[in-house]
Structures are given as structure tokens and as C-alpha cells.
């Protein structure tokens, strides 16, 4: 193996080891605790309650999200729904509103909202875009010839949808469902605000009262096991089959289904979804902004918070993308079992909830590297672990578009391997890297759980300030922070949507 790739591999392995730190921490904590204590802490009523809550939450949220997302994706991509492009944007836009801001908006509208029903309702509006995005892309990629073929074999339109279209959406469905499931396990702010207890909220309660007890560690263990169950389920459902087009040729233009007299009834769905997922946040934030007047814009606090947030987003985004470069390059240029395994490690690490990552980094820094405790370095490390796959996906796509011959040409013109890589592939992959930074930043701007556990003293990001103010029932004071988070997320959502369309070849 040439020197350049062995160096890259070394760095990639090192990053993977760091990324797997939280998992290692959970294992270590379990071993240290010992079986008897662990059993005592795990097999108790409280954990049972949390488990029931978690299962019910997932059990209701994911199917509802699926129905909403499949219907919306079909309407916007395959029917002549009036204003389909607009509705498509509005179906992605709720991602710009952090989950806990959705919660804040619903409580602002219905103050008595709490419990499972509230948890499911808010989760659906906050997370259905995670399914809508891949499904819309999958609908665009479907080969319409297969649907024609099915019709010629005597299948009525609905049967064609059930037997030909749905099976081909399986990958998108599985991926989106997994993403929503992992978010449901990891989310703190959304559920804390409506007083719905999940493992994550329970761990943070424990962390805040007893700082870093064994009880919290054992809850983290159960939470990690829940994540593994979801990952395993997804891997089983997804299967190993490729569903790509067989044979050569260009896919025919997709046929647009005429809704006819159903046109206006069908509009009700995107309208209702937009009203709940965008209307309610807009209404609540707007109402509090007006009620609060100019008094809530305490520029010293809001401004400082904004600058701190942007700075931490930029540093975190750059660090995440930089950490993703070695594995992105390796997975495109030297795809071997080893690099695929490494990539799997990154994905696994990032599916661990923020609270587990934070707990691990708190414990490790306090015990081993105290000077790093509550520093920018630690929190950036947490972001790298959590958001690396976002940067990886963009980077890999753009590196794959740069022909390897350019690198070879640069080398034949006398550049050293590193220099050749830098002056060709890295330069040309820059747009992908920028997109990677942006997508990682989008995660960071909305991140609350790990941030509030790890942030240096005196740091108050928009999310932290927002959550603290709502905790004090200062809903008006929190509104400017919510507004700023939404405004700064908007362009990043646009980028996300644009990218998913580009991947689908439009």
C-alpha cells in the first residue's frame, strides 16, 4: 500500500477509535458496575416504565410518520397536485425548526399538553421529513416501465402500488424509519418540555441530580441496547438485495397521475401537515415576539449567544468534515473490507444518542484528562462523533465524481502523493466538503443534549439559552432564540433538499 494511503488509513482508524469511545465507555461502566448492582439498577419498575414509554412512542410515531410521508411523497412527486413543488419544500421545512421548538410551539398553543399523545403528535411533525426526503427521492428514481409492465400483467393501479412501488421504496423506508427511531431515543428537549419521560430525559435528570452516578450509566446501557435493537431490525428488514434498474437504457419520464375530482380533497393532507408542522411554530413564535415587544431583544445576551453558536457551529462543522476526509477518500479510492468496516464503525458511533456521547466524554475527561473537561475541544469531539456521517455522505459523493486519473496526472507531473491529492481531488471536492460542513452545522445548531452537558462555563448557545428560558416559563424571552435558530437553519435545509434531489438525478 502506498505511503499516502497507509497514513490516511492510520488517521481513519484513529478517528474510528475515538468515535467508538462512547460505546466503549458503556461497556466499561457495565463491567465496573458488576452484574449484581447492574441487575439491581436495570430490573426495576422505573426502567420498566421508561421502556414502556419508549416502545409506545416508537410504536405510534413511526407508523404515523410513514403514512404521512408516503402519502406526501406520492402526492408531490407522482400526482398533479396543485403547487406540488411548494408542498415539497414545505414538507422538508419543518427540519429547520428544532424538535424542542416544536414542543415549545405546541405548549404555547395548548398549555395543558403532556404525555404520550403529545409526545407522538409533536414527534410526528418534527420528524416525518426524515422519511419524506428519502421517499421523495426514491419515487423520482423508480422505473416507470415496471409499473407499466405490472399493469399489462393485469394489476389494477392500487395493486401496482402495493406490489411493485412499495417494495422498491423499502430501502428509503427502512433508512428513514431508523433515523426517526434513533432520534426518538436520543431527543431530550422535546420530551422534557411536555413532561414525557424517556431514557434520555431520565439520564439527564440523574446526571443533574447525582452528577454522574452508576444509575445513569446503567440507563445509558439500556438506551444503547435499544439503539442496537433498532439497528438490528433495520438491517433485517432492509435485506441485502439490490433494487436498482436491471438492464441498460434510460428511465422513461415518470408518469404523472391525474387526481381529477380528488385534487382538492388531496390538498387537505399537505395543508394540514404544514399547518401543524410550520403554522403552529410560526404562530407561537410570532405571538410571543409581538407580546414581548422590543424588551425581549436583549442584544448583549442574544447577540453573544448567536456569535457563540455560529462560532461553535463553524468549528464543529470544519472539524467534523476534516475528520471525515480520510475515510471518505479511502472508501472511494481504496474500497476494501477494512474500509467498509471502518465506515460501519462511524455510522454505529453516530447512532449513539447525544446523552451517551456526552456522558462518556464527561467521564473520560474527568477521570483521565481533567484539563479537557468542559472545553471547546471536548464538545467539538462530541460533535465529530455525532455528525461525522453527515459530512461523510457529501464528501464521498463529490470525491467519487473526481476521476482518479487527475490524481495520477498530478503525480506524473512530479507532485508528491499528498500534494497531488490536495491539488486535485481535494480542490474539486470542495463543494462537497462545504456541504458537509453545512450539514454538520445544522446538527450542531439544533443540538441541545450533549451541548448542555459538555459546553464550557459561560457558553450559552441559542439552543441552551432557549431551553433555559422556557424552563423559567419565560416563553416571550425564548422567542428570539427560536427565531434565530429557525432562520439560520433555513439555508441549510435548502441545501439538504437540493442535495437529495441532485442524488436522485434532477
Amino acid at each position: 500500500m502506498p505511503a499516502a494511503s497507509s497514513w490516511t488509513l492510520t488517521i481513519a482508524v484513529a478517528v474510528a477509535v475515538v468515535a467508538l469511545l462512547p460505546l466503549g465507555f458503556v461497556l466499561w461502566a457495565t463491567v465496573v458496575t458488576g452484574w449484581e448492582t447492574a441487575a439491581l439498577l436495570i430490573f426495576r419498575g422505573r426502567v420498566g416504565e421508561l421502556m414502556v414509554n419508549t416502545i409506545l412512542l416508537i410504536f405510534f410515531t413511526i407508523p404515523i410518520c410513514t403514512v404521512v410521508a408516503v402519502s406526501l411523497a406520492w402526492l408531490t412527486e407522482r400526482s398533479d397536485l396543485p403547487g406540488a413543488r411548494l408542498w415539497s419544500w414545505l414538507a422538508v421545512a419543518p427540519l429547520a425548526v428544532p424538535a424542542f421548538v416544536h414542543s415549545y410551539a405546541w405548549i404555547g398553543t395548548w398549555p395543558s399538553l403532556h404525555g404520550l399523545f403529545a409526545g407522538v403528535a409533536i414527534s410526528v411533525v418534527a420528524y416525518f421529513p426524515f422519511l419524506y426526503l428519502p421517499l421523495a427521492a426514491a419515487f423520482r428514481l423508480l422505473d416507470p416501465a415496471l409499473e407499466d409492465q405490472a399493469a399489462s400483467l393485469g394489476l389494477a393501479p392500487f395493486a401496482v402500488f402495493r406490489r411493485v412501488v412499495l417494495p422498491q421504496l423499502r430501502l428509503a423506508l427502512c433508512g428513514g424509519m431508523l433515523l426517526i427511531g434513533l432520534h426518538l431515543l436520543a431527543e431530550y428537549g422535546l420530551f422534557a418540555m411536555i413532561r414525557f419521560d424517556t431514557f434520555t430525559t431520565a439520564i439527564i435528570d440523574q446526571f443533574q441530580s447525582t452528577y454522574n452516578g452508576t444509575a445513569a450509566h446503567m440507563l445509558a446501557l439500556v438506551l444503547v441496547l435499544c439503539c442496537f435493537v433498532l439497528l438490528g431490525l433495520e438491517a433485517t428488514l432492509r435485506g441485502h438485495r439490490r433494487y436498482a434498474r436491471l438492464g441498460p437504457g434510460v428511465a422513461r419520464q415518470l408518469k404523472i397521475i391525474r387526481l381529477g375530482k380528488w385534487k382538492y380533497p388531496c390538498l387537505l393532507l399537505p395543508l394540514t401537515v404544514a399547518a401543524f408542522s410550520l403554522g403552529i411554530p410560526a404562530l407561537t413564535i410570532g405571538r410571543w415576539l409581538i407580546a414581548g415587544g422590543s424588551g425581549i431583544w436583549r442584544m448583549d445576551e442574544v447577540g453573544l449567544s448567536l456569535i457563540q453558536t455560529l462560532a461553535i457551529c463553524l468549528i464543529g462543522g470544519l472539524a467534523t468534515t476534516a475528520a471525515a476526509v480520510p475515510i471518505a477518500w479511502l472508501s472511494v479510492r481504496r474500497p476494501t473490507r477494512a474500509t467498509r468496516f471502518l465506515e460501519g464503525c462511524y455510522y454505529l458511533a453516530s447512532s449513539m444518542p447525544g446523552v451517551v456521547v456526552a456522558l462518556a466524554l464527561v467521564t473520560v475527561t474527568v477521570r483521565v484528562m481533567l484539563p479537557l473537561y468542559q472545553t471547546v475541544a471536548t464538545i467539538v469531539l462530541a460533535y465529530v462523533v455525532m455528525f461525522l456521517p453527515r459530512a461523510l455522505v457529501s464528501l464521498r459523493a463529490s470525491i467519487a465524481q473526481v476521476p482518479v486519473e487527475l490524481e495520477q496526472a498530478a503525480a506524473s507531473l512530479g507532485r508528491s502523493p499528498g500534494n497531488a491529492l490536495w491539488s486535485t481531488t481535494v480542490r474539486l471536492a470542495a463543494p462537497g466538503a462545504a456541504a458537509g460542513v453545512a450539514l454538520a452545522s445544522l446538527g450542531i445548531i439544533n443540538e441541545l443534549t450533549a451541548t448542555q452537558m459538555l459546553a464550557p462555563n459561560g457558553t450559552r448557545t441559542l439552543a441552551m439559552a432557549f431551553f433555559a428560558l422556557t424552563g423559567e416559563i419565560d416563553y416571550a424571552g425564548a422567542a428570539p432564540y427560536a427565531l434565530l435558530m429557525v432562520i439560520f437553519s433555513m439555508p441549510l435545509i435548502w441545501l439538504l433538499h437540493y442535495q437529495s434531489k441532485k442524488i436522485a438525478g434532477r
Partner: protein
């Protein structure tokens, strides 16, 4: 008996008229090929018959039932017309057996038995039933697609360039297998292709299509030896078109006095000869004199350009068997067998 009747079928896509008034009558149990260059509208025609698209105007009558008449139309899934597409179009998420049983409304065991029977019919090993489409070769996929369409016992089978994605050797074998199966089952077939050899070899009736219209419809022999115009002639094979003066069943041409297939016509016209009618021999034989202007050796045949003597120098290209070593400047004699075709 006519099974399928198309009457002045029209279809526009935006400004482009894909079909500009097409009439066709397909007899039950026959094989019809629609042949034309890409973009001539032949696939559009097939999609209209299958029911995937609606005609703007005109009617489609199938077995006495009106399938489409511009406004109303019977949807594809109620037509009972089978189709085998260019790339087979197998469902990638299903096994071969599931693909074949896809259109059957029966119990699993019945479907499996039927799938096994059809596999034998199209000449594939039953061991492949549990495979996925991406584990089959192109020719095998094509046969599975045929089996899948046959499972529903359609009265009409549409073949949309089903052999063009296959490589040359496989193409002929697959075509023969498909033809045999369809003939044995007595299924009327409509083939669309851009390959004139395929169309001539496959069909009882050939429709030559150009720019949304049929230029000529007839038996393969008819359209090949008596094409309606030089463009059709050239599309169906190599053609040597010569100016001539016709009278009393003979033509005065640069190749001398030739018999023609038109005993009535008198006056100036173009005549056509197929290369297989022409023999080139070294000077001394019978026929019209000419000179080799260019020669390219291509193995079994040589590509030559021959200039004819006489007042107005006339030249044409021709593939001849590479029997004798000929060189540019060699004088040759050109013999013609059979009658020349007159374009009136």
C-alpha cells in the same frame, strides 16, 4: 380474421407528432413487425396498443372490442395484452418464480407449478426459479419476461425491441426461441424493432415506419424487393439506385438494358437493384463494363466503388465476395440477374 385493427391513430407530444395517422390490421395468429429508425414513433404505437398511453385521435379495436377511441379507453390492466420490453423489465425485488407468477391470480402452489411449466416452455432450467433477476444473463432475463407475459395467456403479445439489448450470437438464438414459443402457443405477435433484418426474418407482415407514418405495409419479400421509394429501399438493405428510361418491361440504364418488374410504365424513372443481384467479374465476361475506383478488403467481402463508363460517369458502392484479387483501376464486367424494381 382480424384480431387488432388500428384506425388513423394520432398522438402528439408537445409540438412533435409521434404518430401521424396510422392504420394497421393484424390477422389472428400472425406475426407483424413494425420497423423504423429510432424516433419514428414505433414505441409510441406499442404503448398505445398496450394501454400505457392514450391516443389523441383514432381508434384501437381488439378482438371486436373498442379499446381506445380518443376520449375513452380501456386501462392497460383490463386489456389482456402481453408485453415484453427491451430490457425484460423484470421486477428486481422478486425471484424468477415470483416474476412469472406475478400476473396470475391463483394459489401459491398453482403459481409455482405454472412457473415451472413456463420455464420449460421458454427453454430455461427450473433450477433458476429461485434466482433473482440480477443473477440472470440478458438472454435469460428476456426469456423469463416472455414466460411472465405468457402466463396470462394473452391473445396478443407485444415485443418492444426485446432482442436489441442482447449481443449478436445470443440475439438470433433468443429470437428463434421466442418465435417458436409464440408460434406453438398460437399467439398473435406485434414486434417493434429498428433492425430490418430482424423484422424481415421474424414477421409475416412488415410495416415500415417513418416520421409517425407507415411508409409501406406488406409481406417481408414484398417490402424488400418492391419498396415504395428509395428511402424505404435503403432502410431495408443495401440498394443500388440508378436513373433509367423505362419502356416495354425494359430499362435503359448505366448498367445496360435491364428487365424491370413493371411492364406498364413508360418514361424516365429510378430503378433499384439489390447487391445480391449483381456479380462482378474480371474483364472478358458478360455484362456492362466498369472500373474499380476504390477497394477495401474486409475479409470475406470487399467494399468496392465501381465507376461505370459511358457519357456520364456514374459510380456506386457494393460489397462483393473477396474471390479474386482486384485493384483500383482494374476493368471489370458487371452482370445483373433478375429484374430491377421501378420507383414510379
Amino acid at each position: 380474421m382480424t384480431l387488432l385493427q388500428l384506425n388513423s391513430l394520432r398522438k402528439r407530444y408537445g409540438m412533435v407528432a409521434a404518430l401521424d395517422g396510422v392504420d394497421l390490421s393484424v390477422a389472428a395468429g400472425s406475426r407483424t413487425a413494425i420497423v423504423g429508425p429510432s424516433g419514428c414513433g414505433k414505441t409510441t404505437l406499442l404503448r398505445l396498443v398496450a394501454g400505457f398511453d392514450q391516443p389523441d385521435d383514432g381508434t384501437i379495436v381488439f378482438g371486436g372490442q373498442l379499446l381506445a377511441d380518443g376520449s375513452a379507453q380501456v386501462p392497460a390492466h383490463k386489456r389482456g395484452i402481453g408485453i415484453v420490453a427491451q430490457d425484460g423489465c423484470l421486477f428486481p425485488h422478486l425471484t424468477v418464480a415470483q416474476n412469472i407468477g406475478f400476473g396470475l391470480d391463483a394459489e401459491r402452489a398453482v403459481k409455482e407449478a405454472k412457473a415451472a411449466e413456463l420455464m420449460g416452455m421458454v427453454g430455461l432450467d427450473r433450477a433458476m426459479l429461485s434466482r433473482r433477476p440480477d443473477q440472470l444473463s440478458g438472454g435469460q432475463q428476456q426469456r423469463v419476461a416472455l414466460a411472465r407475459a405468457l402466463a396470462r395467456k394473452p391473445r396478443l403479445m407485444l415485443l418492444d425491441e426485446p432482442f436489441s439489448a442482447l449481443d449478436t450470437g445470443l440475439r438470433a438464438a433468443t429470437r428463434k426461441a421466442v418465435t417458436d414459443v409464440l408460434t406453438a402457443a398460437g399467439i398473435t405477435t406485434l414486434l417493434v424493432t429498428h433492425d430490418q433484418g430482424e423484422a424481415l426474418a421474424f414477421a409475416d407482415q412488415v410495416a415500415v415506419m417513418r416520421a409517425g407514418k407507415f411508409a409501406q405495409v406488406g409481406t417481408p419479400r414484398e417490402v424488400y424487393s418492391k419498396p415504395v421509394d428509395p428511402v424505404t429501399a435503403a432502410f431495408l438493405g443495401e440498394a443500388i439506385v440508378l436513373p433509367a428510361v423505362i419502356g416495354e418491361g425494359r430499362a435503359e440504364s448505366p448498367l445496360g438494358l435491364l428487365p424491370v418488374d413493371d411492364t406498364v410504365y413508360r418514361g424516365k424513372a429510378e430503378i433499384m437493384l439489390r447487391p445480391e443481384q449483381i456479380s462482378v467479374t474480371q474483364a472478358g465476361g458478360a455484362g456492362a463494363p466498369g472500373t474499380i475506383a476504390e477497394i477495401n478488403f474486409c475479409g470475406a467481402t470487399s467494399d468496392v466503388r465501381i465507376t461505370l463508363g459511358g457519357a456520364e460517369a456514374f459510380s456506386f458502392r457494393l460489397d462483393i465476395p473477396s474471390r479474386e484479387a482486384l485493384f483500383p483501376g482494374d476493368r471489370v464486367m458487371i452482370g445483373v440477374s433478375g429484374a430491377a424494381h421501378v420507383f414510379r
